[in-house]
């Protein structure tokens, strides 16, 4: 088996609910290379956030597991920093302090106070938020908050940057702006990114690979689509490109024609695999 940078290996998860056990994910399996930009797309409620939370270590998979650089993920950590949809900035800390909170913890004993300050400021500059460093979260717009969330994530120098619908709550223009910023930063730093989205254009524009998830319960990976578009990508030019529209159409057809349902053959195949080599695990 080839060693991949990040492996999501036959992940299944069950939640205890009032009406018994709810199987949210079953046999979710895909691999990510270093520096790759991967989107996970699927209908609302199919289990995208759950996948991301398992990679982050915030949830523990019931079956299977996540392997990052050959090591199994068991708990959350700054090497898999998360950008939350709700931005999750501490409202009592300034923009600067929110980023510094992570930096001070992650680089404790590695950087001097002055180096940390420079590093926080550098990351805020990267997301173009250095001008509002000393503002409080309630004083800045939604898009700016999300930029700070991204800076906080980047400042931890994660091996993988996990983003859960980070642009979902933003208006179209702000969203486009932020998408461009993230693509620029990702190119510059060569970070590995996992982006959750339900926006087809966003997925095609930004990703190297789109993981399409079937509807839950027991959601799995339906299809994986490689996006071979030149970078840097320019949204206006791309919208006229046939290749872009072809990819777009592929994703749309998965989501709406196949209704996010995996074909019968594929379903049968994965079922057989499950019964043969499921690794049971204690839920964390």
């Amino acid at each position: 088996m080839a060693n991949h940078f990040l492996e999501i290996s036959k992940v299944g998860i069950e939640f205890p609910t009032q009406n018994g056990v709810f199987t949210a994910l079953k046999d979710v399996d895909f691999k990510i290379d270093k520096g790759e930009f991967v989107s996970i797309i699927g209908h609302s409620g199919c289990g995208k956030s759950t996948v991301l939370n398992i990679i982050a270590g915030l949830y523990r998979a019931t079956y299977g597991g996540v392997i990052l650089e050959g090591k199994e993920v068991t708990d959350p950590g700054p090497d898999r920093a998360v950008v939350f949809q709700s931005h999750a900035l501490m409202p009592w800390l300034s923009v600067y302090e929110n980023v510094a909170l992570g930096v001070e913890q992650v680089f404790k004993g590695q950087k001097t106070a002055a180096e940390m300050k420079d590093w926080v400021e550098h990351n805020l500059a990267l997301v173009k938020m250095d001008h509002a460093m000393h503002k409080m979260p309630h004083e800045i717009s939604g898009g700016m908050k999300q930029r700070v969330g991204i800076a906080r994530c980047l400042a931890m120098q994660p091996k993988v940057m996990l983003m859960d619908e980070p642009f979902g709550a933003l208006d179209a223009l702000t969203r486009a702006n932020l998408q461009d910023s993230v693509m620029e930063i990702q190119k510059e730093l060569d970070t590995t990114v996992v982006l959750i989205t339900h926006d087809v254009d966003e997925a095609v524009l930004m990703s190297d690979k789109i993981v399409m998830m079937s509807n839950g319960p027991a959601a799995k990976v339906g299809e994986i689509l490689d996006i071979e578009l030149e970078r840097p990508r320019e949204r206006v030019a791309l919208s006229k490109s046939d290749q872009f529209n072809y990819y777009r159409q592929q994703v749309l057809s998965f989501l709406y024609e196949k209704k996010g349902v995996v074909s019968f053959d594929a379903a049968k195949k994965t079922q057989q695999e499950t019964s043969s080599d499921v690794i049971e695990k204690q839920a964390g």
Binding site: A56, L58, D75, P76, G77, P78, R80, A81, V82, F84, S86, A88, M90, P91, W92, L101, G102, Q105, V106, M136, H138, R152, M156
Partner: protein, 334 residues
Amino acid sequence: MTAITNNAQSKSDESNQLLASVGKYLSGIDIKSIVYPMMGIIIFLFIWSVAASRIDTSLGQFPGPAHVLEQSKSLYQEYQAEQDKAAAFYQRQEDRNAKKLAKNPEANVKIRKYTGKETFFAQILTSLKTVLFGFLVASLFAIPLGVVCGLSDAVYKGMNPLIQIFKPVSPLAWLPLITMVVSALYVSDDPWFEKSFLNSAFTVALCCLWPTLINTAVGVANVDKDLLNVSRVIRLPALTHVRKIILPASVPMIFTGLRLSLATGWMVLIAAEMLSQNPGLGKFVWDEFQNGSSNSLARIMVAVLAIGLIGFALDRIILIAQKVVSWDKQAVLR
């Protein structure tokens, strides 16, 4: 209003400026927020005086506003008279000691404290000290305990039956127990605190405990999940997590608890003082009642109003503290 204006004009520019800013502040206030409360008070005074004139008690007519105002003045005069007596006493003592020392520099001079009658204002001060001490002691226990309960489901489940059983108990029921325990355990030749003070304060503390404890626990348990996840991703150590995430996030709920605690503590204190004859406003009320002069009811009414005003002021002080401490400056504070 006019009196203030006249005074200010005769003073320096500075106070004119102050007045201007006060004026600006006042013009910023919705006129209704002044007129309506004023109307409320005037209507209340009217109803009070009419009703009072129709109620005859064995201690004479029920006091109306005018009678109460007169008695509040007389209470203040008694206080001043007592102050003068105290000053005179100390003056005499000093003179005497000075004379003694002049005769014999080695003389053993005694300094005695003046022990006059407890005035109304002395009783207010005692009650304030007691309630603040009890409140402080309770908060020192309730906040950390609330944080632990909010953080740990196991601790919360373990504490919950105790909280539910002890919360509805009137602290007055504790009073005899506390009194006995304090006299048994607090034996010291040179005590920091009077026993009666400790009895009242611990009774207050027992009832201040619950609202703060419960509200803190609820606040801590309901911190936004995403913020907790951020803390987990950053891997903040437990204590830093509490200090930097949990406490700031639950500040609004902690203060809600503190306000409830202090309000009930103040109410209970008056009752405890009445019941146990410990010094304070409650004792003042009880003594006046026993005294049974024609002015007693009016003097009790002065105490009632003072209790209300002080309770209101205490609540405002906590609100101001909350505004200073809390990050949530936009929260509507009532």
